[in-house]
């Protein structure tokens, strides 16, 4: 029996170790679709050091290899396209723009090294990056200390811009999505009661749950029950049975697409016919493969939709497609926006020192980004609308935008 007891202890420790293993938090979307090829020289093309007098260097840190490589490549494509267009439009203050990009292999410590190089060797005017919040958090203190403005295209974790007054983002923060879905559910879907199924191990999910809960109640709706699961669960029937008996009109599931498909299938299996709602963690080409027809008629919030009919969005898509041969995903769109916000600020800044550019970025108001109109608020976050997408026959369709 002694061996058995040892075994039990060992296994429990082991189970804990695997359960506690957090996947890197992926804001935005764990998307793998259409990245196209990264053009130009990837990562430190051999050149280092400051640019000549007629060029402005923009630094970029991205995960061009490693598990989040598709994020980095998409973002880079978006940034490159923006810089090409801006150069064609005459550059900034008579100078051409150039992007110097370093690969961080999807690792925070590499991202920190890369940003140090960009600041001390290349003396870049602005830093763009990263996608994953954990990497951006590794970069931000260095940029802040060197008074070099940093814009993250797509890190949604609140803490990133709290590092200091030189750190900005062009995407919304996690909390906004909860608000956007609560508003959409109440105003557009006319839903009066809702239940929430949250992932109790994910800060992302808990944040969205909290905001959805308060806002939906404020709008006059009623949250009938909140149930929880843990990442790695595959059987959600117990929670769903409890939700079923509470008879909500909508079920909000702010989780990642890996769990959503299974949850949706099991909900339908138990005879739950309510509308399913979610956040940007749903965005993935495999979402509908995992969920099948169970997800039809569900809605989720996201940063951008290629179906957004606005002319400047459609123009961006056409140009992107011409260069990379694919439809841009959210990350490409946000990379494009980040680069253009930086360039716009440099045009408005009185000179190209860090503090002047910082002030110009902070004053960005109603900038027409492809992933929504961007205004930078006093916390250096972008105030911008979210899009709501609907799942239909295995495809996602643009429904509407929700403004803050």
């Amino acid at each position: 029996m002694r061996v058995l007891r040892f075994a039990v202890v060992a296994l429990m420790a082991l189970g804990c170790a695997t359960a506690c293993e957090e996947r890197p938090k992926t804001q935005e979307s764990e998307t793998t679709q259409g990245t196209g090829a990264a053009t130009g020289a990837i990562a430190a093309s051999g050149e280092t050091g400051p640019a000549d007098a007629n060029t402005i260097l923009i630094g970029e840190v991205g995960s061009l290899t490693g598990p989040e490589a598709t994020f980095g490549v998409s973002t880079r494509n978006g940034i490159d396209l923006a810089i090409q267009q801006e150069n064609a439009a005459g550059g900034v203050k008579g100078k051409k723009l150039k992007v110097r990009v370093y690969d961080d292999q999807s690792k925070p410590e590499e991202a920190a090294n890369a940003v140090t190089r960009l600041i001390s060797q290349d003396r870049v005017a602005v830093i763009l990056g990263e996608v994953a919040s954990s990497n951006s958090l590794a970069m931000a203190p260095k940029a802040q200390a060197a008074q070099t403005p940093m814009i993250t295209p797509s890190s949604t974790n609140e803490k990133v811009t709290q590092v200091g007054d030189y750190i900005f983002r062009v995407c919304f923060i996690d909390a906004f999505q909860g608000y956007a879905m609560a508003k959409f559910a109440h105003d557009t879907l006319k839903v009066k009661t809702a239940a929430i199924l949250k992932d109790q191990k994910s800060d992302y999910s808990l944040g969205l749950t909290k905001v959805f809960n308060t806002k939906f109640t404020e709008f006059g709706g009623k949250i009938v029950t909140i149930e929880a699961y843990s990442k790695g669960d595959t059987d959600f029937r117990a929670q769903l049975t409890a939700i079923k008996s509470a008879k909500p009109e909508a079920l909000y599931i702010p989780g990642y697409y890996t769990d959503i498909g299974v949850i949706a299938r099991q909900a339908r299996e138990l005879g739950i016919k309510t509308i399913l709602l979610g956040g940007d963690g749903w965005e993935s080409p495999t979402l509908t493969e995992l969920g099948g027809s169970a997800l039809d008629g569900s809605y989720y919030t996201n940063h951008y939709s290629p179906e957004d009919p606005s002319p400047h969005v459609q123009q961006f898509i056409a140009e992107y497609r011409k260069v990379y041969g694919a439809v841009p995903d959210s990350l490409a769109a946000l990379g494009y926006d980040a680069a253009r916000v930086a360039v716009d600020a440099m045009r408005r800044a009185k000179d190209l020192t860090g503090p002047s550019i910082r002030d110009a970025i902070a004053q960005t108001k109603a900038f027409p980004g492809v992933a929504g109109t961007i205004s930078i608020d006093e916390n250096r976050n972008a105030v911008k609308p979210a899009v709501v997408l609907k799942v239909e026959d295995g495809k996602t369709k643009f429904v509407t935008t929700v403004s803050p």
Binding site: M1, V3, F6, A228, T241, A242, L290
Partner: protein
Amino acid sequence: MNDLIQHLINGLAAGTIYALVALGYTMVYGVLKLINFAHGDVMMVGVYMGYATAGHLGREHQSTFLGATLVFLLSMAGCGLLGFLIERLAYRPLRDKSRLTSLITAIGISFTLSYGFQLDIGFLPGASPRAFPEIIKPHEWIVIGDHDVIIWNWQVISFLIAILLMLGLQILVFRTRFGRAMRAVSFDHRIAALMGIPVDRVIAFTFMLGSALAAGAGILYAIKDTAVQPLMGLYVGLKAFVAAVIGGIGHVPGAVAGAILLGLTEEFVVGYAGDVLRGLGAVLHLDSLGVGFTGSSWRDAVAFGFLIIVLLVRPEGIFGRVTAEKV
């Protein structure tokens, strides 16, 4: 009331899967006194074999009776072979070493399989989850009320398969010559060898049988919970192990009883612990037990707490026999 019935069905369905996986644990333990921690991962490999077979059959053929049987048989045979290889290459060379050595080897194999399958080269599938094809076309068999409670055909089929396999194993162990050899090896494999029992062959066959069972269990699990991914075996394996220990490891009906008990306990904890504690919170005016409080977080705590209590109070398990230990 309908809730209660639905929870009961959910719990039984979960328990059935634990039971099938637990049978494999218990059988290998019974013969070798080795806890084969790689068992859950062998199950995962079986699921991927089933996934590949179903993929080759195509959408039309995979859900026919013949197609489904083929999916089961091929993956069970494949896993039997895998079990044979694992035993031959990893466990047999260590059989006379201390038991801890084999235990750690088993954990090593478990990690090799679950993390190896996350690679994306050659036939390895990569880390992203896939949807398991519907090899049993789902039908609603029994519907109570206005879809208040639904019992699906595959739930009944899984349950029947689990019971049949349990009976089959019980017969194999207690009614056949081979079973007698297994029991002899289990009692003392050195003496058994002296009596002319081919110990190596008995152990190899036990492993193959256990692994084939794991594959069958895995496919039923995949039909039930649809998402297939390389780490799926770790969690189910852990729960099945707990079930086997609760029932009395090495004891076939005990494993099934323990598994079903565990499945039902988990289900009811998630279903009702929240209500009970929220009620308590309202009585005691504890704000932390408000509407947002859920019972779901207690599921694993209760499952493992149950295990600890069993080990403290009745370490041989509910059905296990007390064996004197020479110290």
